[in-house]
Symmetry: C2
């Protein structure tokens, strides 16, 4: 890192120092000599040093004849020296960015020196073994050892990723300098071993929203033990660091025009605003949309049906699944495709009921309930048919209605209409895989000019990675966290009326969806 001031610095940066050797004319103390040079290089006014390392580092400094590499944690409020290695080791400097989701964990390892992503992976949150959703995990955390067990499950999963990486490249844990992590408030509490008890009980109080930067050893992470761990702050129990990472990454907070970010994970989180103000809210809309609720639903992954086309004339069904094998279930984007196509083909009516007057051999009955056969048993991975029931449809419509109602309520709360939203950022696996056209068809997303939609993918992960490479974003995140107002969704009669109207396909008020083709 030769001219650090010309570009943004990563959250943990290495500096090779060739220090002037001590002399009678320059008899600055050894450690002060290191810090003096670092301050000159970085413009920092103050750099902290862990007391218990000073003796060893100064010994190393003298042995290395004042030619050393300093590792700096550029965390707010103050930078911290966290290693001093003999010679020039600036070439090995990596960091891990983590999106800690309730269901999935996604990671990227970055080369901080070359600013290149060198490894990416995602896997089920191992806490799902103990409880599929947030509430069951909070309950588990109240049992003896429950919190610790949940915490260790995630720490060990991340450590496996880290150890696999260092092992495969013959690196030492000390070469992994930093970790950034964004997640919802509950996941972050569990990861940090903080009691989540009050998160889901009125008035919904986190233990802490904004945490000082930690060292890896405080959490038992297999990085450099003194390397910085940055946890994105929460806004509240229902708006987590993942959404802050999303705002920061999307740039919503720098827009002049009215903008909206929706992040559909296990929960739906929505932020409305611009460079002047930010208003956020959250609601239960997600599980059905993620594919986690339908009887044959599954999260996006190999075997998941993600695209469906139904020929309105022949009612022929074409499926596309992730990976090369036979289908195993249907994921969120597949479900939305399915409902949109069935609606367009007349197989579902405007009230959201199966229309069995339209004849096809795919209508079946399961436990006396009507269902739509998506894949017969002989074509599936499991040997069981993949079906879509009226119950699944009802759940999905409630979710999409909740989502649309949350969007409407939020926008109306500040005297705007949805069609005034100029930038519609769509985050989450949802935003990555979904076809906005289909989402509009079922009335999940508003009927805006299509170019206003900006699918961004996993903004929680991307935001975490962006911070890893540019510590300057910390200050911006701090400002965003301070600027967001949380809107508590008041589930009153107005809300319920809007919700009921939004359960129709696409909506009772068709004037809101002028571009959606009327069903046959």
């Amino acid at each position: 890192m030769n001219s650090p001031l010309e570009k943004s610095l990563p959250l943990a940066a290495k500096f090779y120092l060739e220090l002037p050797r001590p002399s009678l004319r320059d008899n600055t103390a050894d450690l002060d000599r290191v810090l003096r040079q670092l301050k000159t290089l970085t413009g920092l006014e103050s750099i902290q040093v862990p007391f218990d390392q000073i003796s060893a580092w100064v010994r190393r400094l003298r042995q290395a004849d004042y030619r050393v590499t300093a590792a700096l944690a550029l965390t707010l409020p103050g930078a911290r020296l966290f290693d001093l290695e003999p010679g020039d080791t600036t070439a090995t400097a990596f960091g891990l960015a983590v999106d800690l989701g309730t269901t999935r964990i996604a990671c990227q390892i970055w080369d901080l020196q070359r600013r290149e992503m060198v490894f990416e992976t995602d896997f089920d949150n191992p806490q799902t073994r103990f409880g599929p959703d947030i509430l069951t995990r909070i309950q588990m955390a109240e049992k003896p050892e429950g919190l610790r067990t949940l915490q260790e499950a995630v720490v060990q999963a991340l450590n496996r990723v880290l150890r696999d990486f260092t092992g495969s490249r013959s690196l030492r844990p000390e070469n992994l300098l930093a970790l950034t992590l964004a997640g919802n408030t509950t996941m972050v509490h569990l990861f940090l071993g903080l009691d989540p008890y009050a998160l889901r009980r009125e008035p919904y109080i986190p233990v802490v929203n904004t945490l000082a930067p930690l060292s890896a050893r405080e959490l038992g992470l297999a990085l450099h033990p003194l390397g910085p761990v940055y946890i994105f702050p929460n806004v509240g129990s229902y708006l987590g660091g993942d959404i802050l990472a999303g705002i920061q990454f999307s740039g919503l907070h720098r827009q002049d025009a009215l903008s909206l970010l929706v992040d559909v994970g296990t929960n739906a989180e929505v932020v409305l605003g611009n460079s002047q103000w930010l208003l956020g809210c959250a609601g239960a809309a997600g599980p059905a949309l993620e594919g986690g609720v339908a009887a044959m639903g599954m999260t996006a992954g190999p075997g998941a049906i993600e695209k469906i086309r139904i020929d309105p004339g022949t009612l022929e069904v074409r499926r596309q699944q992730i990976g090369t094998g036979p289908p195993a279930g249907i994921c969120g984007s597949g479900l939305i495709d399915l409902v949109a196509e069935m609606f367009t083909a007349g197989l579902i009516d405007i009230r959201g009921k199966f229309n069995r007057k339209v004849k096809t051999e795919r209508w079946v009955e399961v436990d006396g309930q009507p269902a739509f056969l998506l894949a017969p048993a002989q074509e599936t991975q499991t040997g069981r048919p993949i079906i879509f029931t009226q119950v699944d449809l009802d759940i999905l419509l409630r979710s999409k209605a909740a989502m649309y109602t949350i969007l409407t309520t939020l926008v109306q709360s500040v005297g705007h209409r949805l069609d005034e939203v100029e930038n519609f950022f769509v985050a989450g696996a949802f935003g990555n895989h979904i076809d906005p056209e289909k989402a509009i068809t079922i009335g999940l997303l508003p009927d805006l000019p299509r170019e206003r939609f900006r699918p961004l993918g996993n903004t929680s992960l991307k935001g975490a990675a962006a911070l890893l490479l540019d510590q300057g974003r910390q200050e911006e995140i701090r400002r965003i966290a301070g600027a967001i107002t949380y809107l508590e969704m008041n589930v009153n009669q107005d809300f319920m009326n809007r919700f009921s109207a939004a359960r129709f396909l696409p909506h009772t008020d068709l004037s809101l969806f002028p571009s959606v083709p009327r069903p046959l």
Copy 2:
């Protein structure tokens, strides 16, 4: 502590908080709620929190129904929350100020709430068991376990003081919030367990000069384990935190007129300057002046002869010793008195030789050397006579000559004369006990108008205590440390010529000492 902004805050301050209870309208996270209130009260922008305490503190906060006392370490660069106790505990808040001398350790315990000193003590540095002076202790620190043994000796001695205090008042260690410590660079290295190897080898490099504030548990001190420990920074190997504490306490750095601070401990440290600049130097002048070198010398304490008058006519000797018992030896101020009085009475000539032509029964011979009998065996504590030999006199004169030469050299190095020094601050036990008139008589101090001398006592201890009560001084100390230029005393022919001239009584150039009475 009700209106903290109206007065200076101590280094560790307690604040009783009655926080608004969480509600749907104010659902700030628990810890953030505490910090928000503290920031409002103090105006601080950032307050750090030790991660491993958060869970316990938030549990306590909830149990105490949001009525808690927060303990804040107001250390630079950032404040730190270090305790959260149920209810109002602001009444118990104490701190320890320490002057860590090579020979003696002096301590004061202050009630930080009432701003009253509640306990004071001083005792021999227990490291003297292992080595009387700095060099022997540095040698010991190089042996296995040597450094740890030296460190533990001081830590345990301080812990005894702390435990006696808490024991006698039924307090807990947690009621002792903070510790400030000033000492010379070597003593501070040994106290912190930092390798002193390079301190006394050219080019004389400390491990570290400016340390970030520590927590008591990092040093094993019997205070609140997370309470702040502030160590005054060193300027270099030969100018320590004790002199910084002295400058800060004396206010030398705020004077418009040319001012000088001399601190005679085991070493002599001198700082010259004003509000614009500061120039410091140090030299070996002290031991003899402290009474540690003469055959019958002792440090100031019970039994030490501290004042002597000799009637110029009758040569009758009157002594005054510390305490009520018979004399045991002679301390620094007693030695200076003795030489001044003997000189005035004609018993010592201008060359610093005993003048046995003046007859008195006090002339004796010891091992064939001439000596002056100060107290016969039957009058002393030890049963041995207290005598003063020509060798003792020679050593004292070398010390006083070194001191005067250092003062002259320092002042001349910036183109001034000693008589232009408007404020002459005299620090150290020396400054407390010595009679400036006598010190001038022997040519140890320059012959200035007497009102320019400001004896300040133990400015290292007083400076440490002042900081304990007013954290704002940290910033001033940081500025002083950054402003001092260290003058390496170049022992060249010029210096040696000056030194030789200064070995006379009071000086070969009598015009420098116009007010000193010529001997009989």
